[in-house]
């Protein structure tokens, strides 16, 4: 059974010079805790404020980008009126949503109706806390990072289910139930695809997974298996965050607006914001697992090439990869038609899941015999 050097991680990390120093806000907080509670509390507040600010700004930027990109995909211009080329459009929209009346429908379950969007946003916020932006920019580096991401991501659908149920509206309920069915199905495939990378890197910790890609990204270092895993993860995550072509819970043409039919003002904005930040999160997680996160593009053995690649800071690499994946998601959204419910289930249980299982078993064999680049 696994002896020393069985896990590729140990071998790989043994060879390279560890010039990536991982620092997180949580580490600073724990160090400050030796001095006293006040410093630790300061760091925790810093982390919370940073994430909340990032969430708000990123949401506005993403919504503007989406509208602009969508416009040009459809031979339109997108927002053009508020500010230069409409850059202030989302700011104006945000102010409008803040000022709008928050309506709770008659005979709705008031408490749940008010709580639901908060749950959805909470799931998003919690995942954002472990996203590794660059070696020195991460709020917390949890040692079970991948499990944490999968588990906490489920909070989002809890909010959707509560919102749909409490609205006392048949469209909301149908939309919410669809969201539930969808996440139950696609979570399986997404997790199977995650496990491929966990097998290769031998760790659940997100920073370790990134460090294990110093010789190259898993998408090409693990031949075929990496690519298949990446595609499955990307498709399944798109379905999990209810984005077109899997936006059945919203389904404008059938369900008015699905689970958020009865929401307005701020609470609608929460759902909307969570949806867009989730898009960033799955792009960031996919980039972290398969495209090396903040790790520059390295090819094991080519030191000169690697040095050139290191000229760009890790944060820029992360931003580049994540924005590329976000762009691909937008590209999907404005090209593909929505799936029917039976097609959605067929795609998951008959296509993605079997391929995911075969892929995982193949990955296990490849790890055991060391059939991948850089080993």
């Amino acid at each position: 059974m696994p002896g020393p050097g069985f896990w590729p991680n140990e071998q790989v990390i043994g060879e390279i010079d560890m010039n990536w120093e991982i620092k997180t806000v949580a580490m600073f907080a724990s160090e400050a805790l030796r001095e006293g509670y006040l410093g630790a509390a300061g760091y925790i507040i810093l982390g919370v404020v940073a994430i909340a600010g990032f969430l708000a700004v990123l949401g506005m930027v993403l919504i503007y980008a989406e509208r602009k990109v969508a416009g040009h995909f459809q031979c339109r211009l997108g927002p053009m009126r508020v500010g230069w080329h409409g850059v202030l459009q989302t700011v104006a929209d945000t102010i409008k949503l803040f000022l709008k009346e928050d309506i709770v429908p008659f005979q709705a379950d008031k408490v749940l109706h008010i709580l639901a969007p908060l749950f959805t946003l909470l799931g998003t916020l919690l995942v954002l806390a472990v996203v590794p932006f660059s070696p020195g920019m991460q709020v917390a580096d949890v040692n079970i990072g991948v499990v944490y991401v999968t588990a906490v991501g489920g909070f989002g659908v809890l909010g959707i289910l509560l919102g749909g149920w409490s609205s006392n509206n048949k469209w909301s309920l149908v939309g919410a139930m669809r969201a539930g069915a969808q996440i139950i199905s696609y979570e399986v495939s997404a997790t199977l695809a995650l496990l491929v990378v966990v097998l290769f890197s031998g760790s659940l910790k997100l920073s370790d997974i990134i460090l294990s890609q110093e010789q190259g990204w898993w998408i090409w270092r693990a031949p075929v298996v990496g690519l298949v895993g990446f595609v499955i993860f990307f498709i399944a995550s798109t379905a999990e965050i209810n984005r077109t072509p899997f936006d059945l819970p919203e389904g404008e043409s059938e369900l008015t607006a699905g689970f958020h039919t009865e929401y307005s003002g701020m609470r609608f904005a929460f759902f909307f914001l969570a949806e867009f930040i989730n898009m960033f999160i799955i792009s960031a997680i996919a980039a972290t697992l398969y495209l090396g996160g903040w790790m520059p593009f390295h090819i094991g053995g080519l030191d000169g090439f690697n040095a050139v690649m290191d000229l760009l800071p890790p944060g820029a690499w992360f931003a580049g990869k994540t924005s590329f994946l976000i762009f691909v998601l937008m590209w999907f959204r404005w090209t593909f038609p929505r799936l029917r419910v039976d097609q959605l289930m067929r795609l998951e249980w008959k296509i993605l899941l079997p391929i995911g299982f075969v892929n995982l078993i193949a990955a296990a064999f490849m790890v055991m015999f060391g059939w991948y680049y850089g080993n």
Binding site: H72, F73, C75, R76, L77, W331, F332, T335, F336, I351
Partner: protein
């Protein structure tokens, strides 16, 4: 009597193998993505007009139907013979062709071609049925005015014989005498010289000018 039914067999839906279907699906998805990325990377495909800003350079499509006009040639002659086919074919009576007898020759000629924009549906039938190609739909879509009376247009610029009969007259002065001037807003709800409440006379003249420019161009 025995009725014979024809047996219909539903065509068999051919299903490919799993991998074949999958690659087909991926191929067709990629086809769609190629089209959308082409639109994204080629801003010349954008069809949106930034209207109030590009008002000077805006060019409407040739097929756009926003204003009925009567074509006048370079001498100011039109080809309308007051036959009234357009009048008869107009589905909602927006056209009224008023004819008269020429005082000299006694022939029928156009006195006033009245078009009511407020009831017009821009169906284009009048243009299609005209045997002389007199009518034309123009793209001048800025139709809002301050008074409903301004929707009643007189399309012909003169009352008199059509182009064919006018060209028979050799003398230019005699030709001019046959053409009695008609004002664009001088129809059955006359506005000549009057001002409209809340609207200054200068503005009205301006409106008349732009309206005439649109009709000419």
């Amino acid at each position: 009597m025995e009725i014979k039914f024809k047996t219909l067999v539903a065509p068999e839906i051919k299903r490919g193998c799993l991998m074949g279907n999958m690659f087909n699906a991926l191929g067709s998805l990629w086809k769609g993505m190629k089209i959308t990325i082409y639109y994204l990377t080629h801003p010349s495909t954008v069809v949106t007009q930034q209207y109030p800003e590009n008002r000077e350079t805006l060019k409407m499509m040739d097929r756009f139907r926003a204003q009925l006009t009567m074509a006048h040639d370079e001498n100011g002659h039109h080809t309308c013979t007051a036959c009234g086919i357009c009048d008869q074919n107009c589905p909602n009576g927006s056209i009224n062709v008023v004819d008269r007898k020429n005082p000299i020759t006694g022939k029928k000629e156009l006195d006033r071609y009245i078009w009511r924009m407020d009831s017009c549906t821009f169906c284009n039938i009048c243009v299609q049925v005209c045997p002389f190609g007199t009518l034309e739909m123009k793209g001048n879509f800025e139709a809002s005015v301050y008074d409903r009376r301004l929707f009643v247009y007189t399309l012909n610029k003169y009352a008199g014989p059509d182009q064919k009969n006018l060209l028979k007259i050799e003398n230019l002065d005699d030709r001019k005498k046959q053409m009695e001037s008609r004002d664009i807003f001088g129809g059955p709800v006359p506005l000549s010289g009057q001002s409209i409440a809340g609207l200054e006379a200068g503005v009205f003249d301006q409106l008349r000018k732009t309206e005439e420019a649109a009709t000419n161009g």
